[in-house]
Amino acid sequence: MATNAIDTWTDSVSTSSQSYEDSVLGLKQRRADALDKFAQVGFPGRKHEEWRYTPLTSIASGPCSALLERSGSLLDRKLLPVDSNGVARIVIDNGEFRDDLSDLSAVGDHVQVQSLASMRREHPEQLSELLARSFPADDHPFHCLSDALLDDGVFIDVAPMSDVDGEVASIHIIHYLDGSRGPGSVHTTGLLRISKGARIRLIEEIHCQGEVLGNIRWGVDLAEGSDVHRIRAFRSGCASIFHGSRVVQQQDSRFEDVFTCAGADLVRNEIHILHEGSGCHAELLGAYVASGTEHIDNHTTIDHKVEDCTSREIYRGVLSGKSRGVFTGMIHVHEGAQRTDAVQSNDTILLSGAAEADSRPRLEIYADDVKCTHGATVGELDEDAIFYLRSRGISFEQARRMLVRAFTSEILIAAGSQVVSDFIVEELQQAIDVAEVASS
């Protein structure tokens, strides 16, 4: 059965993969290698250490092996309240970079944006080099799929601002995954290159309809002294999403990521940070809610390779129903990475007895002068805080809501925009309320 399922996938991926024409050898080879690799590894199950808590058997036997049809009309969804003044917009609809719906007039000339489809046609050599640099070959199933099925996506190239450019450039990226005309998958690659001293803000949101598998990967390349601030909102009703980022940071650069998920059938959120130069900082924040049988897996790796780098990581989940939250946080302090300062925590509130949280902090430290702390808590709401609120006249129900809201909203403080932060906090809260009503 499982064998048949993966054969279906391999056949489907193989057919799709071979339909693409690559004009340069690098891309051709990359695609062929990835296809071979995927045929070998398939989707790992429980026995694979990296996928122990999130076996991909349901994906393997699921109906999404074909590519999603290009949709034409957009899903009608309420977007994050991003101020359209001064913020560029990129729309990626069922994997296709939609030139007609994207608007890049708000960013200055120092920000260049190209679709990967156009790069494949016009600058295949450059694309091949960028991919090789951003995504070293491995046997990760989703990376293999991304390479084997490389089609479209986006390349954002940011140079430092000149004085006339004004505010830091902001780009709002909206992914629509519309499976209303049949299930399928989408494989999107994003490349972000930030030159020395440059800055950018990204607001990425994902909307799903129907049975879809979204496979989104980002290669982020931060040059010396550059700065990236990113918000990712997996909007309510997401299906199965793999979202992976590989972030390479040079000296004194800063990468900040705020991940939020208002419920999804299955999420694997992977971030791999590599500090290649000293004085880097990475800030990884996450707030997620899950209900029913939803499953959210956050999988982060921070490689502190050189001295004087810092990282701070806080992931918070609220689980109800029979949902499951998984957190794996690897902090790897390499030999010579002295004075590394790494903080990590993962806190989960369980609103039902049947929900489950698995938290695995992992530290590997090969330097002696470092500060690394990690902690995980799993529990119910603080009884003392509930009593404090009730003693002021606030009902038990309202006290619970206020505390859950406080728990997630602390993460969203880092969103950088009060309006966006409030909107997301409200959506997370609504997802919890709906789940609570459904289960009572």
Partner: protein, 263 residues
Amino acid sequence: MSGKKEKQMLEIKGLHASVEGTEILKGLDLEVGKGEVHAIMGPNGSGKSTLANVLAGREEYQVDSGTVKYNGLDLLELAADERACEGIFMAFQYPVSIPGISNAYFLRSALNALRRYRDESEIDAVDFLDLVRSKMELVGMDQKLLQRAVNDGFSGGEKKRNEILQMAVLEPKLAILDETDSGLDIDALRVVAEGVNVLRREDRTFIIVTHYQRLLDYIVPDRVHVLSGGRIVRSGDKDLALELEKEGYSWLEADDAKAGSGA
């Protein structure tokens, strides 16, 4: 419409209460009149904190028998939030910090909960700010603390002042001050005392639970009660507090021993 009943605010009869299976209050009787300030004193472990928490409705404190009448209501039938809505307020000994909820949002939610209970319309943000600013001035609190998370990173004195501010905004009929810990610093006590004096009114009753007489250097109580072994063993006027300060509580142990052997 006259006489004792009208004046009575709180009437506790034969109250037995336990925490985690251990009986702490063992038949406590207490009457408190409207507008009065009562101090409840006693040695550590006598049940002072238990009394305060039972009155506020903390669920870990199990009431085994006895009655508590508050303004004619059966207090023990009410949940903690209903008690607050009926005008009971407990100033916490150690106020809880709640990261992620601003003081302003917390106070407005509380005030609106009380207003909804009384079938009044909710207060809007602008009116609320006016109200809370005037109350902050009244209790001498830094306006900056309004936007900070509830008690988060507050000093001991700031936490106490925040309790008094909540009291000023929520305007309770009965305020219970839990100051049982002997380790509280003198500045924090002074904040509490000043707050009580500012908010003292003819129709507002205070019960001040405290270990040491020194809080009463600043607040002059109408009645002083000594709690020992889970019961009120002596009551008197403000001079009783002074007497306790001189003599300590050692005489109680002698009384207890006698009572124990007699039983």
